[in-house]
Symmetry: C2
Subunit: 248 residues, 2 copies
DNA sequence: GGGCGTGCTGTGGTCTGACCACACAGCTTA
DNA sequence: TAAGCTGTGTGGTCAGACCACAGCACGCCC
């Protein structure tokens, strides 16, 4: 008869985590209803709701109203949203300096590019006839960025998608989610930085050329080249928008 | 008079985020009371509580009951806890494969080690007399790991602290929080992996020697050496505990 | 017999009110 | 002066009520 000193919603959270670890809950499964969970765990429904709200923000469940098989809280395990919310709010609360966000992005994305080039190299040895399939989407995005009359907002959206597509081609879920979070955390700063550019057409053209260069280095199975090009691309852009000096 | 289609707790969350971005809330500040926030935003107190719960899990606020200056929800912006919860739950829900966690850790920690070595190099040029202060804690932890009679659990705790201290010496808040999250996400797997080791004393001795080597390379201002040693250390350990093959 | 509409039912979303434990602050009292 | 007490505001929790919504089964109508 020990007293459970945890708060009620922590009990609910721990119970659900335990079910996940024990395999009693898998992606695609539905959580018990809020009322059922409340009575089962001996807590109030509001406490259950607080726990589910946390899971929802962290990207673990998706809630739907109504009835039928799609209703209720469903395990989805999509880390992107949670990582974005976490990093965005931490930047807002000054827990994450913008400069650190940029540096981390630099580390991760250079590693991603180098690993992609390595993968191309390995694939070429095993299947000399086949072209890497995952890089197709990256190329498509670059083509889309060449469309004339693109607004700055549209360009930046495609730019973000391209960088994310590199991580996706790499296939590492953690890196994908982290990159998405890092990007969304500094989204506002990036868009504000465009205003300070001397010439948007010039910068846009340079960015597109650098993107092509990065993709070319990857497809040429040149890890160090891809690494260095990404490094120059990212640090150069942030230097140009004067993001880092005024950051924090 | 457009209808706000967001859910009530999202309104609260957005309002607080806006206050953070607008500088009306800073670390150390107290949030308005739950009841005040509810009436101010025109929502129920339970919705306010759901939003604050999210902020608490993400590591943005700390709540205290009672009265006085320490009571209420206080902005703290400590990202470690939130990142750990996010990654731990994503691993539990199979959104993050363990192998991807390990790979990400490999990328980040090798970069951290290389950057630290670089920093030592720069510092030596500027202040040839002064030894790097932030590496002192790393060395202390290594000394603690040499203590005889250390249990496996204690050793692993010190091991985790050492690796985290490297990130802390680097000073990048994002990397620190991410590394802490990655570690906690696979904490259970690491402890389980120890059971499968052929000989704990042998492994422990090897790990300690590798730690010394890493720190020595950093203090010798050898970026590539530190990078490679960290790479071998981490990938070697996970290979030995057979963590990666059975993962996911 | 087949198609369609309608109510039933269960879901999450929200609000209200109430009570509790807690911690500080100021007052009262010895 | 010092110890104790009470008031007040805080988050923590619960219970109950109502709403909008979506599916489903029943029954009606053609």
């Amino acid at each position: 008869m020990t007293v459970d000193e945890r708060r009620a919603w922590e009990i609910v959270l721990a119970h659900i985590e335990d079910d996940l670890l024990g395999g009693r809950l898998k992606p695609g499964d539905r959580l018990p209803g809020e009322r059922a969970l409340a009575t089962e765990l001996g807590v109030g429904r509001s406490s259950v709701r607080e726990a589910i709200r946390v899971l929802e923000v962290l990207g673990l469940v998706r809630t739907n109203v109504g009835s039928g098989p799609t209703a209720g809280a469903i395990i989805v395990a999509l880390p992107g949203g949670g990582m974005s919310a976490l990093m965005r709010l931490q930047v807002a609360a000054q827990g994450f300096p913008v400069a650190d966000i940029v540096k981390t992005r630099l580390v991760l994305e250079t590693a991603v590019a180098a690993e992609l080039a390595d993968a191309v190299l390995s694939a070429a040895l095993l299947h000399p006839d086949r072209r890497d399939p995952d890089l197709g989407r990256c190329a498509q995005l670059l083509d889309a960025m060449d469309a004339p009359g693109l607004s700055e907002d549209e360009f930046l959206t495609l730019d973000a998608a391209f960088h994310l597509s590199l991580a996706e081609a790499c296939g590492n879920q953690v890196v994908i989610a982290t990159m998405a979070g890092l990007r969304s955390a500094i989204e506002g700063y990036v868009r504000a930085g465009v205003e300070r550019l001397a010439s948007w057409p010039d910068t846009s053209a340079r960015l597109r050329a650098e993107h092509r260069g990065i993709l070319a280095a990857i497809e040429a199975a040149d890890p160090t080249g891809a690494h260095d090009l990404v490094h120059a691309h990212i640090s150069g852009y942030y230097a140009e928008t004067r993001l880092t000096p005024a950051s924090r």
